[in-house]
């Protein structure tokens, strides 16, 4: 299945792009995707314990499986305002 991953902040910098499209096995969870990305870019490991997941623009739990066509955003600690 194809998953669109939007990248912001340190994730955008680590990949030097705004977006990735990954081909992943059915049933892959948000947390597994984070570990996959941190495997490719070790500087992202610092967010492992604190990153949150926005799936189709809603916060979801780390063990939520993604489905074909989903939009996922990895949300390191926010600091708006």
């Amino acid at each position: 299945m194809k998953i669109e991953i939007k990248l912001f902040a340190s994730y955008r910098e680590a990949f030097a792009r705004d977006e990735l499209v990954l081909e992943l096995p059915e049933g892959t969870t948000c947390a597994q995707i984070q570990r996959h990305l941190a495997g490719e870019r070790p500087q992202l490991a610092r967010w492992e314990a604190v990153v949150r997941y926005g799936l189709n623009r809603r916060f979801v739990a780390p063990d939520t499986p993604v489905a074909d066509g989903d939009e996922l955003v990895l949300i390191p600690p926010v600091s708006g305002g």
Binding site: K6, F8, A9, S10, R12, V50, G54, R57, R58, F59, V73, I75, P76, P77, V78, S79, G80, G81
Partner: protein
């Protein structure tokens, strides 16, 4: 609630404009909070900040904050949240929130809830660039 009540912009924010959108003859009080870029953080001189957001999701967070406020403080009038993006220098406003209410205590409580919730929930990030040339993403 018109789209102009919640917005992201790369232009300088205006408290006059934010206030004018929140003001309304039924609200005796409008409480406004302006967040600005501080000259120092943890004793380090700040040169500038870069703000970015996942705008569609952040706007949904603003709408959820707004719904919660209308539920908790039913006499709430208008709620306006304007957030700046891009490069900001010291003293510039990064966010302005304005809340109208017939009762001023509720306007204060709702405005404070809004900024606290925004900072916890909205997917917005800032990278701090210090005068010494170093930089990092701000946590919390």
């Amino acid at each position: 609630m018109g789209a102009e009540h919640f917005c992201f912009t790369s232009e300088p924010l205006s408290i006059e404009r934010t206030y004018a959108l929140a003001a309304d003859p039924a609200s005796g009080a409008v409480v406004t909070m302006v967040g600005t870029v501080r000259a120092n953080t943890q004793g380090r001189a700040v040169a500038f900040l870069d703000y970015e957001a996942f705008e569609p999701m952040a706007l949904e967070v603003f709408a959820r904050i707004s719904r919660h406020i209308h539920e908790c403080w039913p006499a709430t009038g208008k709620i306006v949240i304007h957030h700046r993006l891009g490069r900001l220098t010291v003293g510039e406003a990064s966010v302005i929130i304005a809340v109208g209410n017939a009762h001023r205590a509720d306007a204060f409580a709702a405005c404070q809830y809004a900024i606290d919730a925004l900072k916890l929930e909205a997917p917005i990030w800032k990278k701090e660039h210090w005068a010494d040339g170093d930089s990092d993403w701000v946590v919390g």
